[in-house]
């Protein structure tokens, strides 16, 4: 049983967890009594919440598809009736747990039940005083958006059954990103809500909790393409003309507000669309959808002659999704981004020369792009970013600059936009074109090369270095940092990129304390540790035994403070913290020892000439000289060695002190000749601390 190993690591929790597991195994159907029973077990053993959560997660994953729903109901019952800490533990793996169950079930009733389940997690527990949703939005949202995307893909498939690839062994499509990798998708949805917020285009969002519930059912409805409706024929040329005019308007807007990511994204989306339309004129429903998108995007713009009310921003964002979209099995394990990356990075085709077949065209242009050294991950790119951003003001017709400007403004935005803008340009091309037979095989190479492009894109984000070390990363977010000269002139201008560097670029937020983390693996790992830390401390604070008798610690003395490296215990791994403290401990001369050479029981310290005696150490099973260190090949008191080292160190810092205090003459004569001799005395005085209050003064 997979659950055995995690249980093994938590001794004490194993009994309860295995009981729990046994009862869980007996759960075959939606049995209210059994579920309540399991919930009670969970409620009574919150101290083993971690083990129980793990058992439950493993069970949901391992059990037969028909039993997954009852097990999910157990999960639901626990998080709603018990709440924390289970919400924390289960929330972390919720994406994989839920998506796996969803993917392995193809019974529509079960899926509908799961959909309903998910919906309740976005809301507060019924009848509870707590306003917070069952799971925090950043847990539920990725699942929702994955489901929406997947459902959209499903509907597309149903619309074009003749295009169903030979891999028809799968009667139900797998939700996106479910093949083995459970990377939580980036948080484009949050980004949307957020951008809409920043630009104040959606007052209704301000009015209510709308930010929280961005992926509302309304969006779901929208995402489902209106395929069943019959439409009047639409002129391709009219649509193309609309697209062109929209592009020019967007470009004007982009020139006015080069940092507005919404405009950037729209522009890139419409350019993608234009390419797709140029490559293969759509017809029928797909044409209708294209027109709808254009209309939606156009409506989102402040029209040139007269203002009209702004539509709901998320709708604009969602717009590209329902375009003809078809995903071949060859690229299934890949997330959406690669294809998008290709279309996004593609140089713009001139209006007059549409690409003959888009897929090979995308491939060749992608290769050209890669060969051109346009990989944004190269250091040149990073250094060139400021220059590129200024260039983009003048050369707006070149989309290349748009691509370059995007990382300047915000790498996270770019990634989000990539994920969001869909992959239709490449993937829509095979629709009903003669090239279908080989498109499936052609699709693979761009996918693999775009995967590398994606990787290089991600590497713009700070490198995952120093993971778990006590110090924080000094050069986070360097890529997107603007250079601001230290002058009064630079003070007045509002720089949204500074705000972005503090908010959007660290989208992964702790719901407890508001701390933000990067949206990369390192950020996620840090956040996981951080949440663990919150949980541990909250548990300790709630414990009535530790709640009493807390007191403030003494302040530290100068030497200790100087040596102390501040680090964040909430994001540092236990190993690193222990390593740091043991390293510190080892520094203490009192704890150092030297194994006594055979037959030697006495020794004279080579520094203070006092006698040292060996003692037997139970721990080491050997005779040792305690408080001893090797000094010039001889055994000496470790404290004496420390003093000698310190005095040589002090002469250096003493010089600095003298230099520092050069300007200060008054009162100086009252201080001792070496300004920090007091610092040297500290260690010896440390022994005073434990001496107790009733020491007689001498």
């Amino acid at each position: 049983m997979a659950a055995r190993s995690p249980r093994g690591s938590l001794s004490g929790a194993s009994d309860i967890a295995s009981d729990f597991e046994d009862s869980l195994k007996d759960l075959q159907r939606n049995d209210r009594f059994a579920i309540e029973n399991l919930t009670n077990i969970a409620r009574e053993s919150t101290e083993h919440a971690q083990a129980i959560s793990r058992v439950l997660e493993n069970h949901i994953k391992a059990t037969a598809p028909t039993r997954k729903l009852p097990a999910l109901y157990v999960l639901d019952s626990i998080v709603k009736n018990v709440g924390t800490p289970y919400t924390v533990y289960l929330g972390r793996g919720l994406y994989s747990t839920f998506m796996e169950s969803y993917g392995s079930n193809n019974d529509p009733t079960t899926r509908r039940a799961m959909d309903n389940l998910l919906k309740t997690w976005k809301e507060p527990v019924p009848g509870s005083m707590d306003h917070r949703p069952v799971f925090p939005p950043d847990v539920v949202r990725p699942i929702e958006s994955a489901l929406i995307r997947w459902k959209t893909g499903m509907l597309q498939k149903q619309n074009q059954p003749q295009l169903q690839p030979q891999g028809g062994y799968r009667s139900t499509a797998t939700p996106p990103q479910y093949n083995g990798q459970y990377a939580v998708p980036p948080v484009p949805v949050q980004q949307n809500a957020y951008n809409a917020f920043g630009s104040q285009q959606t007052p209704q969002q301000l009015a209510g909790h709308a930010v929280y519930h961005t992926p509302t059912p309304m969006q779901q409805h929208y995402a489902a393409p209106p395929t069943s409706v019959l439409h009047a024929p639409i002129d391709v040329q009219v649509v193309k003309a609309d697209i062109s005019s929209l592009i020019s308007r967007l470009q004007t807007q982009f020139a006015a507000a080069p940092y507005d990511t919404q405009v950037q994204t729209k522009l890139s989306q419409i350019l993608d669309l234009q390419r797709a339309v140029d490559a293969k004129p759509p017809f029928g429903d797909s044409l209708r959808q294209v027109r709808d998108i254009v209309a939606a995007l156009a409506a989102g713009l402040p029209p040139l002659p007269a203002p009209t009310p702004q539509p709901h921003a998320p709708v604009q964002w969602q717009a590209p999704t329902p375009t003809p979209q078809w995903q071949p099995p060859a690229s299934f394990p890949l997330p959406y981004q690669p294809q998008t990356a290709a279309s996004y990075m593609q140089p713009p085709p001139a209006q007059s020369q549409p690409l003959p077949i888009l897929t090979p065209g995308a491939l060749s242009s992608l290769q050209a792009l890669l060969a051109n050294g346009q990989k944004p991950s190269t250091p040149q790119m990073r250094t060139a970013v400021p220059a590129l951003s200024s260039a983009s003001h003048t050369q707006l017709n070149n989309v290349q600059n748009n691509v370059a400007a995007a990382p300047t403004a915000n790498t996270a935005d770019l990634l989000a936009a990539l994920a969001k803008s869909g992959m239709f340009p490449i993937m829509s091309a095979p629709n009903a074109t003669p090239s279908v037979p080989f498109s499936a095989s052609v699709a693979a190479p761009p996918a693999s090369s775009t995967a590398s492009l994606l990787q290089s894109l991600q590497s713009i984000l700070p490198p995952a270095s120093q993971n778990g070390t006590p110090t924080m990363i000094p050069a986070q977010l360097v890529a997107s940092k603007p250079r601001i000269p230290f002058s009064a002139a630079a003070l007045k201008q509002f720089r949204p990129e500074l705000v972005r560097s503090l908010y959007d670029e660290q989208p992964n937020q702790c719901s407890n304390c508001g701390r933000r983390f990067l949206a990369n693996d390192e950020g996620r790992a840090k956040k996981a540790r951080h949440l663990d830390w919150h949980f541990r401390t909250n548990q300790r604070m709630a414990d009535p035994n530790t709640g009493r008798g807390q007191h403030r610690s003494w302040f530290v003395d100068e030497m200790e403070w100087i040596r102390l490296t501040e680090f964040d215990p909430s994001t540092t791994t236990a190993d690193a913290a222990i390593a740091a403290t043991t390293a510190k401990k080892q520094k203490g001369p009192q704890d150092q020892y030297v194994r006594a050479p055979a037959g030697v029981t006495r020794n004279t310290c080579s520094i203070c000439q006092e006698e040292m005696r060996s003692s037997y150490s139970e721990e080491l099973q050997d005779w040792v000289f305690m408080n001893a260190a090797m000094y010039n090949g001889k055994i000496a008191h470790a404290t004496c060695v420390e003093e000698i080292k310190k005095s040589s160190l002090q002469s250096a810092s003493g010089a600095m002190a003298a230099a520092l205090s050069g300007a200060y003459a008054g009162g100086r004569r009252q201080r001792s000749e070496t300004p920090d001799s007091a610092l040297g005395k500290r260690k010896a005085e440390g022994a005073l601390a434990g001496a107790g209050a009733r020491i007689k003064m001498g």
Binding site: Q200, H209, L502, D557, S570, E685
Partner: protein, 491 residues
């Protein structure tokens, strides 16, 4: 907001909720919960009293209090705070409780300036990784110096830095009670309610702790004892500089020095305080931010922003005073100090702490009284108190008379016997042994503070309230006349 003028800070005598919210009809006893929608780049300014609870909750969007971001849906208790919840993106707040004044403001150009200052510091940090920015913030009282430092430090922490903040204003403690000068390197996130967070305790804390280094300056203003102040500043600068030398990332992240308002004043000829010059050289300041009047900025620029001989030029930047800063009257400051002392011993609502009572015979304590201020008017009151205790206990006559006899300018401390005059005041425990010489005692760092709960002169016993159950050994104790006694600490 419709009528922000109605609830300006000065007019906020009656507890009034914002008129636009239409809450004026609500019964005064019941807690009024209302929501406030703030557009992007605006702020919610509030001034709350110490007694009545004032809770804020962020319902949507993003918001920060002096650079520290609020978590969504978490309640924050902000009673006894003058502050402004700022939002860059727009937000919705839920407010419970009554404030002395509260209103939404959109004139927030200051925030842009502050954020740009953060951007400039970040630029300096990336361009000179081996020598980070060492910033001194100067200005008169109530110009937002501490808030500026708090914001810039919080943004720095958020950007992954570990800036070191030095507080040189003895009137407000940083992670310590007033009368302390402190330095702390911020290695973890700052806190909304307490600003900088919590100093180490024996138990779990809701936020990672920060470890400060504390020195004791028991006077309200640097000008009260300029010599002592300068000596302590030198000492603090030495420790801080040594720490930055030990820690590369801390050095890159830089230093932020907060100064008391009295140093932001210029004399009649526009000359800058001599102490300020001392601070600039001791901390090797390389960036000066002035929140004060133009005159101060000009004097600073004249002196520092052009290179003179071996000295490098130090850029001087003037930042406007934010519109929301209100005069903090002496009663408010006094309550603030009293709360800081209380929190030192008893902790906050989240982390409650137990102080420990130590009853010690007079013979077993060595208390040095910090000599009163140099100015003549103040001396009389303190002098009288000491006369009294000299009269009471003839045995301590000897040291007292020798100390005062040796001349007032050189002596900072004199040994004193516990007396009723000490009741309810703060005593600093220095790390140095009790019989150290004067300058050692003066420069020694603080191990902790004691509160004199009771002096029983009849039985010759003094009862201290100590933060720690353990004794403090034979260390020097220093009693200063400042901060003022806090009577209601123990009942």
């Amino acid at each position: 907001m419709a009528l922000p003028g109605l609830s300006l800070p000065g007019l906020g005598l009656q507890p009034a909720s914002t008129p636009a919210q239409g809450n004026s009809f609500a019964p005064p006893i019941e807690q009024v919960t209302r929501t406030e929608n703030l557009p992007a780049r605006s702020e919610w300014r509030f001034e709350t009293s110490f007694g009545s609870p004032y809770n804020l909750r962020l319902l949507g969007g993003h918001a920060e209090l002096f650079g520290v971001e609020l978590a969504t849906n978490q309640p924050y208790d902000l009673s006894g705070v003058q502050g402004a919840i700022f939002t860059w993106q727009g937000c919705q707040l839920e407010i419970t409780g009554e404030a002395e004044s509260e209103y939404a403001a959109e004139e927030t150009e200051y925030a842009t300036e502050w954020l740009n200052l953060h951007g400039m510091l970040e630029t300096l940090r990336s361009e000179r990784p081996s020598d980070g920015p060492r910033m001194l913030v100067v200005g008169s009282d109530n110009t937002g110096k501490s808030s500026l430092i708090r914001s810039v430090a919080a943004w720095g922490v958020k950007a992954g830095r570990t800036p070191t903040v030095v507080n040189l204003d003895p009137r407000q403690g940083l992670l310590a009670p007033p009368s302390s000068l402190s330095a702390v390197t911020l290695g973890s996130q700052m806190e909304v309610e307490t600003g900088f967070g919590i100093a180490p305790t024996s138990g779990p804390t809701s936020m990672p702790v920060k470890t400060p280094l504390i020195y004791h300056y028991p006077y309200a203003s640097p000008t009260d004892r300029p010599d002592v102040y300068k000596a302590l500043a030198t000492r603090l600068a030495l420790s801080t500089t040594s720490k930055l030398e030990e820690d590369v990332t801390a050095k890159q992240s830089g230093l932020m020095v907060d100064t008391p308002g009295s140093l932001g004043l210029t004399d009649g000829k526009g000359n800058i305080s001599e102490i300020l010059h001392h601070l600039i050289s001791e901390f090797s300041i390389n960036v000066i931010v002035s929140l004060g009047p133009e005159r101060l900025t000009n004097s600073l620029s004249k002196r520092y922003s052009t290179a003179k001989g071996h000295e490098e030029a130090i850029p001087v930047l003037r930042i406007a005073k934010p519109g929301g800063v209100a005069e903090r009257g002496e009663p408010h400051m006094k309550q603030l100090r009293s709360r800081q002392i209380k929190q030192y011993f008893f902790g906050s609502a989240n982390e409650s702490l137990n102080p420990h009572s130590h009853s010690i015979p007079f013979d077993n304590v060595v208390i040095y009284g910090a000599k009163p201020l140099a100015s003549a008017t103040e001396t009389s009151s303190y002098g009288a108190a000491e006369e009294e205790e000299d009269d009471y206990d003839p045995y301590t006559d000897n040291p007292t008379t020798t100390a005062s006899g040796s001349g007032t300018s050189n002596a900072f401390f004199e040994k004193v016997t516990p007396s009723v005059a000490m009741t309810a005041s703060l005593i600093a425990i220095k790390f140095c042994p009790a019989n150290s010489d004067e300058s050692t005692i003066r420069d020694s760092a603080v191990m902790g503070f004691l509160y004199v709960a009771d002096v029983d002169e009849g039985r010759k016993k003094v009862r201290f309230l100590a933060p720690h159950p353990q004794g403090w050994g034979n260390r020097a104790l220093v009693w200063g006349g400042w901060p003022e006694a806090v009577v209601d600490l123990v009942t």
